[in-house]
């Protein structure tokens, strides 16, 4: 195999490797951390570690794939292979883009800035259940109907930063 052929192969392998890595980093955490599935302690730790390093790994994978596709294009004359390499690099970019989606916040939108109504002015039904706290001199009620959807409310009550979770 001549030098140019070796180079083309190297670039092709680099793109394939990036595809494999980005696919694993996208899919493994989604596979492990699923509702209605039991999570074992070790696999959860592994999935969370993958998640924590995922942004950097994806960035490197995209960079490697794109650079390899460019270099491959220059070293290759056959159109079919050139297109395959470009598609491979595009695939890595797509997987990297997908990995930025937080599906949980897509299903349960976060509250950016929580708004509050005085107890006397709210139209809440008396029978509705609330989670109530008294912090730093402020009394807050979070209706369960609302917080069971959003799950998390980042708040400052009476000057104290708190997070209400349900």
């Amino acid at each position: 195999m001549d030098l140019r052929a070796k180079r083309r192969l190297t670039y092709g392998l680099a793109i394939t490797g990036s595809l494999a890595v980005s696919l694993f980093f996208l899919v493994y955490p989604v596979y492990v951390i699923r509702p209605f599935r039991h999570q074992g302690v070790q696999e959860l730790q592994a999935a969370l570690a993958v998640l924590r390093f995922r942004p950097e790994v994806m960035a490197v994978a995209v960079a490697v794939a794109v650079v390899s596709a460019v270099l491959h294009w220059r070293a290759q004359t056959r159109t079919l292979w050139r297109i395959a390499a470009v598609l491979g690099a595009a695939g890595v970019a797509i997987l990297a883009g997908l990995s930025r989606i937080n599906i949980y916040e897509l299903m349960f939108h976060p509250i950016g800035q929580p708004a509050f109504v005085a107890a006397g002015e709210t139209k809440l039904d008396g029978d509705e259940k609330v989670i109530a706290v008294a912090v730093g001199g402020a009394a807050r009620a979070y209706p369960i109907r609302i917080i069971s959807y959003h799950h998390i409310v980042n708040d400052v009550a009476g000057g104290v930063p708190i997070v209400a979770t349900y």
Binding site: L51, N102, E105, H109, P110, P114, I146
Partner: protein
Amino acid sequence: MNGLRLTFHLAGINNQNFLMRDEETGTYWQQITGRAISGPLAGRTLPLIPCDELTFALWKTEQPRGTVLADVPAYVAGYAPEDWDVKMRKAPTVLSYAQPGIAPRDLMLGVHASGAARAFPYDAVAAAKLLQDRVGGEPVLLVLGPDRQSVRAFRAGIGKGGRVEFYRTYDDKNPAPGAQAPLMMDSASGSHWDFQGCAVDGPAKGSCLERMEVIKDYWFDWRHYNPATTVYGKTSR
């Protein structure tokens, strides 16, 4: 944590209890325990703030100048319907810990004291309306509020006298209004106490019982994080 304010995002689920991630360090935290399980702050625990689950009407009598979280108009359609907790009782679980007489989604009121954990079935507490027990050797009182739905726990001792007997005296058929409505009476002094645990008349007037934290949770989740828990009415302390 360490003077850094953390902003949390919904990030995943672990055996049906959710995980959250803070923006500032990228650490993952378990919701039910407040403990960081992965990331730079792993091992740390968020300080738990005492909280209540009660009806809005009752809360309003206690905190007339409090504030209530408002609906976010864009997402109102997704909010839980009124009977969501009834439907949830029938949903499957991935963990079980089922025992004779205890189903995975039975609602429990979990209490920690002196290193011990004990689960009080919500239905048993609601039926008894007031019950006294010991957790970790400490005398504990659980009482149903005037709204007949919320439950609070108190240390059932007054002064240095040790354990005292309490009786729920509130007449649910003739509800008395107000946050200081007498709810129960103690046998030592004959004083009446309200749902905030403070004596409203009698020799003990002005003093308050010490609140204890109660975690209302499904049995499978409470048991998962408290493997040594005992269960009121099922297992001895």
